[in-house]
Structures are given as C-alpha cells and as structure tokens.
Symmetry: C2
Subunit: 242 residues, 2 copies
DNA sequence: TCTCATTGAGAGCAGTGCTCTCAAAACTCA
DNA sequence: TGAGTTTTGAGAGCACTGCTCTCAATGAGA
C-alpha cells in the first residue's frame, strides 16, 4: 500500500521513483519546518517554496496539510520507537529496571531533542486535525508496547511485586484491565497493570513539563538529576524492586 | 494596573466604562471561540464578526492576537484556580489526603469541562506565542502553590512521612530544592519536595492523557475509577499515609 | 459651542489552504 | 520513431488570516 514494493514486487518505473523521491523531499522539508516553527505553523506553501516549486504542485503529492501532518506524525513515531528500541537493546534482557530506565531516558532525550515532534505526538491536538487511527496506531503504540513488555517480563521473572495496598477493582475497571491483558498477551495482574498505566502517564507528564517549559524557567537547574530521581520512584511505583 | 480602579479610585468616565465593557465582550467571545475551535484557531476577525464590528476596530482594544491569548490564558488560570480553591475549601483543614484528592479531582474536572482551555494552559505551546511571565506567573502558580500548601501542612502536622528510600541529593539539586523551600516558606524536606514535584507532573500527565485522547479511544471505559486509583497511589508517593 | 481625543469603517498588504485550468513534459505502446 | 496518453508544474483565483493605515463620525470636556 505504501509504495507498491510490497505486492508482486514489480520494478518501479522511473516515474514512480521520481515521485517517491519528491515525496520524501516534501517530508524532509516538512520535518525541518516542523522542528523550526512547530506543527500548527506548518505551511504547505512554505514547503513548496523550499522545494523550489509552486504551491499547487505539492498537492500532486500530498492530499492536504493534514495528510502531511499525518506523514510527519508517523515519521516521528517511528523515530521515537527506533530510539527506544535501541536504548532498550543495550540492556541485558533480564535487567528489567535498567530496561525501564533506558526506555524512559530514551523518550526524554528524544523529546528534548525534538520538542516540536514531541508536541505533535503528545501535546495538545492540532486544531481541526484528527490523526487517522488506521495508519498511526501501529507506530504510535510501539513505546507503550515496549513498556508493557518490560513490565510483563519482570513479572514473569518474579521481579515485579505488588505491595498489596491497592484497593479492589470494580467490575468495569476489572473488565478494562482483563481486556488489555488478553489483547496484549500479558500475565501481569490487574493491579500492577493499572500501576503501569500510571507510570506511563507520569513519565509523559514529567517530560512534558520539561519540554513545554511548564516549570518556571529557573525552578530547576538540576533537571537530569531530578528526572533520574523521578524514574527511581516510578520504578518502585510500577513494582520493580529498588 | 488592570483597569485604573486600584490607584486613586477616580470614578471611571462613561467612555472608560464603555471601553471596559467592550473589552469584556471581546474576552467573552474569545472564550467561546476558544472552547469551540481551540487556541490555535482563534481568529480576531471571527471575534470581530461575532461582536458585530469590523476587524480593525478590535485592535483598538486588543493589541494583537497574542494579547487576546494572554487575556484568555489569565482568564483560564483564574477559573481553574477558583475551582481548585473551592474544592479544597470543602475539606477540613487537617484532612490533608482529602484536600489533595479534592485538588486533583478539581483540576481533572475543570480540564474535562474545558479541554481547549486546559490545552492552552498545559498543552503544547501555541507556536510563536510566549506568555508574558510578568502577567501570567501570578495566576498560573495558584494551583501548584495550593498543592505545596497542602503537602507542607501535612508535613507540619506529622502526616507526611518519607520512607527513606530515596537517594541522596547532589549539590545542584539540593540547591534547587533549598531555594524553592525558602521562596515558598516551606518546612517540608527536600526529598519529599522532590516527590511532590513528581506527583505534580504525574497528575498533569494522567489528566493530559485523558483530555488529549492519548489513551486509545476504547482502552479504558472506567476512567473515573482509574483516576481515583492513580490518586491513591500518588498520595502515597507524596508521602501521605493511606 | 468649540476643540480634541476616541472610535469604527474601509481599503489594503502579505500570508495561508485549496481548487481549477492549461500547457509542457514524460512515459507507453504500436 | 511517432502518436497518444498520463503525469506534472505553473498560474490564476477564492476565501480566509493578522495587521496597518487613513478618514470620517462621534462623544467628552473646556
């Protein structure tokens, strides 16, 4: 579906190759503009100018501004997913706390390096733009899936323990958690899964505050260390031993 | 500074009163547009149309689109601060966990009721717009100040306890925390203050995921209960006893 | 009543997303 | 190679945006 190289493997015609190259140029320039000016300021006309072409020509390759945003969204999700996978890969498979911290640090580092991309993925939605679920849920769930894999692996290895302090579930939430466990093939019990969800959102809360400048400008100078402390606490919240 | 009613209390001339009323109309219409279409889609021309006036006339009252955004930012901060104060006020002064949960629930309820306003305050920054610190830090810090008051009060009452598991501070982070404690007049020690910061950002992480639709659309049906569970965990993270 | 500051209207500039038409270029196939 | 078809880019144009400028009307104070 993406470029015709999947089905039947017909050799691409020169036109197809040129088209693919131009589309990649558009995405590349769009990514530059995204980094420089942010998602809401992304302008197809400006991209066209940088491409050395008149604005209407870009519409031969990209259906609309939204379509370009979707391409950039997928691009950013993939880049973040690659960074997280690479970071996790540097830890031994049974070093679950290390893998958790590597995942979190990779997300934070990528976010700080690509604030506009991070804002596109995890910030307030761009007005009037709704990401098409069928194309973005795949790359968009890589990181949360990686976290679930780490936590579930830790549980299977006996290294994820509940302190038993959490309240009992009502049936509705129990059903939610059971469905997630089944769909993702998890063994981790519901209370730890709920804690994993909290850790997940907390991670993005901490990163968002940094990336979006919600801390006062001079509140925290030692941000790396603060984040490391937060990670240690969150690891314990998730159930990983200290 | 706001309307001249502070200094010398001169009676406002009819012109000044008409001007004030028009400005309030602009803010009111702007707030409606904000709620309907989001911050980035806020248009001075559309506000002017709704006001029944030509666009250039609005510039007699509001310097620019950014200025209107600032007014709406202050407006939203104040509304949120009022909601939080009211919610806290329903709890006895010494019910610190109850006050914490009331604060958090008030933020969440306000956010769900005013998603566009919440996005303006805590979402990705509007491109090209930088909130003027001198006018927004006051109303913008009310809620975090309220949280610090709750936690510090709990500590003074002996109801905020550290589990002693956190690592020692490096000098830089210790200096950050010492400065915050002094500026806010807090007695709560540094390790609990750092945990409070994590709880603070985690709260907004959880709320942002809900408001911005970052959970998959059908991942959690029992969102109220999930949030309540998260709150209980976060209260313990902060050091409040269960 | 006269004077002057304030106000709103209107035109205008440069930018945006997007559509339409038209000619040139590129490819396909006999 | 030459004819026919498809793809491509240019250009004009529409409706919208933020914002500036000028000008006439209005209102308040002396």
């Amino acid at each position: 579906m993406t470029s015709g190289s999947a089905a039947h493997a017909k050799p691409p015609t020169p036109r197809e190759r040129a088209r693919e190259r131009t589309l990649q140029d558009i995405v590349r320039i769009g990514r530059e503009h995204l980094a420089l000016h942010g998602a809401a300021a992304l302008s197809l006309r400006a991209v066209a100018r940088d491409l050395g072409v008149v604005s209407s020509a870009v519409y031969r390759y990209v259906e609309s501004r939204e379509e370009l945003l979707t391409l950039l969204l997928i691009d950013a999700y993939s880049e973040l997913g690659d960074a997280v996978d690479a970071a996790i890969g540097t830890c031994p498979e049974d070093a679950f706390t290390g893998r958790f911290e590597a995942l979190a640090a990779a997300v934070r580092n990528w976010a700080l390096a690509h604030p506009a991309g991070y804002a596109l993925l995890f910030g307030s939605p761009v007005p009037g733009y709704q990401a098409p679920a069928d194309r973005t849920t795949g790359p968009g769930t890589r990181v949360v899936y990686a976290l679930m894999t780490v936590l579930d692996g830790a549980y299977r290895a006996g290294q994820l323990t509940s302190d038993g302090q959490d309240a009992a579930f009502t049936p509705l939430l129990a059903a939610d958690l059971a469905r997630i466990r089944e769909e993702a093939g998890l063994q981790v019990p519901g209370d730890l899964l709920a804690r994993g969800a909290l850790v997940w959102t907390s991670l993005f809360g901490a990163i968002s505050f940094e990336v979006f400048g919600q801390y006062g400008a001079e509140t925290f100078a030692a941000r790396d260390e603060l984040f490391a402390r937060h990670l240690a606490v969150l690891a314990r919240v998730a159930g990983l031993r200290a």
